[in-house]
Symmetry: C2
Subunit: 457 residues, 2 copies
Amino acid sequence: MAEYSVTIAGTLTTLISERKYTTVRDILVTMNPSDIAYIFAELEEDRLPIFFRLLPKELAAETFVEMEPDAQELMIRAFSDSELREMVNELYVDDAVDLIEEMPANVVKRILSQADPQLRKEINEILRYPENSAGSIMTTEYVSLRPAMTVEEAILRIRRTGYDKETIYTCYVTRDRTLLGLVTVKDLLLAEDDEMPISEIMETNVISVNTHTDQEEVAQMFSKYNFLAFPVVDAEYRMVGIVTFDDAMDVMEDEATEDIELMSGMMPSENTYLRSSVFELFKNRIFWLMLMMFSATFTGMIITGFEDALAAQVVLTAFIPMLMGTGGNSGSQSSVMVIRALSLGELEFSDFWRVVWKEIRTSVLCGIALSVACFGKLIFIDKLLLGNTEITYLVATVVCITMALTVLFAKVIGAMLPMLAKKIGLDPAVMASPFITTIVDTLSLLVYFAVANLILL
Amino acid sequence: MAEYSVTIAGTLTTLISERKYTTVRDILVTMNPSDIAYIFAELEEDRLPIFFRLLPKELAAETFVEMEPDAQELMIRAFSDSELREMVNELYVDDAVDLIEEMPANVVKRILSQADPQLRKEINEILRYPENSAGSIMTTEYVSLRPAMTVEEAILRIRRTGYDKETIYTCYVTRDRTLLGLVTVKDLLLAEDDEMPISEIMETNVISVNTHTDQEEVAQMFSKYNFLAFPVVDAEYRMVGIVTFDDAMDVMEDEATEDIELMSGMMPSENTYLRSSVFELFKNRIFWLMLMMFSATFTGMIITGFEDALAAQVVLTAFIPMLMGTGGNSGSQSSVMVIRALSLGELEFSDFWRVVWKEIRTSVLCGIALSVACFGKLIFIDKLLLGNTEITYLVATVVCITMALTVLFAKVIGAMLPMLAKKIGLDPAVMASPFITTIVDTLSLLVYFAVANLILL
């Protein structure tokens, strides 16, 4: 894909320098907006406006939506007022809102000044909803029908008004803006009688979301119900917009990325990896690194406290990384599974004890298997094969008991913390690997020295 | 949601025991299949068939698709042959395939024996495609049109044949099964002239996928192009089916879950967390735990090798967890970001050096910030405040130099390994936290003792 586009970009640049504008236009109009945007990203920036002006109005707007924010800003600055007006008013409302959210203040001002009054009003309405709410990702361009219309009238209305609607396939039946039901184009086309009133074929049991519903919840509803769109209603059940499946897909992807980043001890990033500056990456990563470095004070203190024991049995030090590593990995396994299940809505807080019981049994199995394997490894590999005479049966026993107990603690804590976090309104994803590891590191050392004290000293 | 359904399930059970079948039916038909399936999951298993038989045929099939495999199996065993026949032939082909892939062999045999010959043929065709390919998730039920049809004829054809198609909104224009173009219902409805031939309004530049295209790639195409469906063609560009957006959403979710599990050192699970047995959880987790435990032999050997140094400067032991922890966390941050970007198609192998250079600069910033903070912490908190007199300026210098170097190594290796893995055809996700941590643990100890040797001894 990448290689292919680079070649196309080269061809287009050559054609443009030869002033073969019609040829360039002919090539571009065969393409999909996403692909054109992808190719444009490969071009030299100062050529961009020339290419862009060759696109027909509608394709230009669709391509513009797919471009990266830097390129969009560059284009807007190159546009004349009338070019900008034409482009902005060709956009769907939700795309216009996305654009405005990405642009710096002076560009936003220019965009809004060129938008039609109706569009400007709709943009401002959507901008008023909280970030990450259904209201903030919805579009106000949907087809609304009246309950008394016949099937034929409804189809006529769709044909007349459908052109600039984000989707025509699900239409909403309203009276005084109150949502009464929905009807799909499939229902309309397959209806046996064209004279039947919409009120008789509409689905009245409509599943809607509220303007304030969290976007992650909306995305989950899409994957549960497989609908093309959900209506968005306000507190009075008046219909204000729709969220479509393509927005839900973007939300799903973004939320998964955010979870993954949080789980790995990073602040969620605003940009894609390649588009993030080094300073942004640094800023997103340093907080957790600092926090975890400082929290290592505890492990340091524990080791210092047991310095005498360690000096007497130096061999014990050699197993600290293995024990802490196994504990950390065990804990992050269970925490990550629980976090993902919470994100997908598969787990509720009411499952708390079921989860704990599952983890106890799993960790007993893992603990036994690991301890037995570890005992074998210590005796047969480390002691007999590698000839480390400091490893006695007692030392091996201490290490293996610690391992089994650490795995148990790690898995149970790893599963409990994300659920508790969710209960008190925190994002469960912060309770993943780095956080769990810090707790488990401390616990495993305490267990290690306690067991060592009991058996060896 | 959960609480609400439990109450409904209770009400329904009461109504059934009072034999108020009509009331139960009236309640159920107002609901969405996903919700009915959710409520059914709360019912006692032996009541299930009674409830199920109350549903109208189409709703019954739609609900069945949404049920969990255990419940589906239970239902099929309770069905008479004629009931099973009715239900199976009501299913969409891709749902029938999903069902067959989940059921044990004897149930599969019964399902196939009741399927209509046409359906059985289609099921078998799809089953022949490799797992996770576009062919394996497609459906063969799409609307196909001929290029010579007029808009009016096309609409008529959709009205006649659309009823049991998975989607009618995107129709495919074919000649001798070769894909020529596509036309949407929106294009048809908004066409100005009903007599225009389809060949004149169809989009000929169709983006299609091959039967063998990986399902993850297909899902990425949905999020890139925002289409409702993609046509699936064979090697001769003959159209064999379509993949719809709802299947792509499921794939996106599953692939993100799989990545997250692999990144946390687990084999990808077949079932959701609550539905996985303890033994399954154990099986998915123990492999990496064992591997990482055995690989800790290296860290053990390094520590043993430097035992004399450690015995002389016992204070050095206290900082091992902090150094390994910081290294592990730094490495997993960069590896996870790179893995996610690779999954979403944002990174290519050609970006390799760009990524490495970005990570070098980021790690220098992180390394300096962490070292300075660590030096301050060691001197002001640990030495002066907590009175640990063993910490000298030289010891603090050793620790901080090691920290800066470890962060650098960790971040660069963490970013490189997933890209190299992808290049040689491995899943980049296995190069995350647990794997990186093991390498970084070893490296950080080597650096620690080398620096200590140089400065302290």
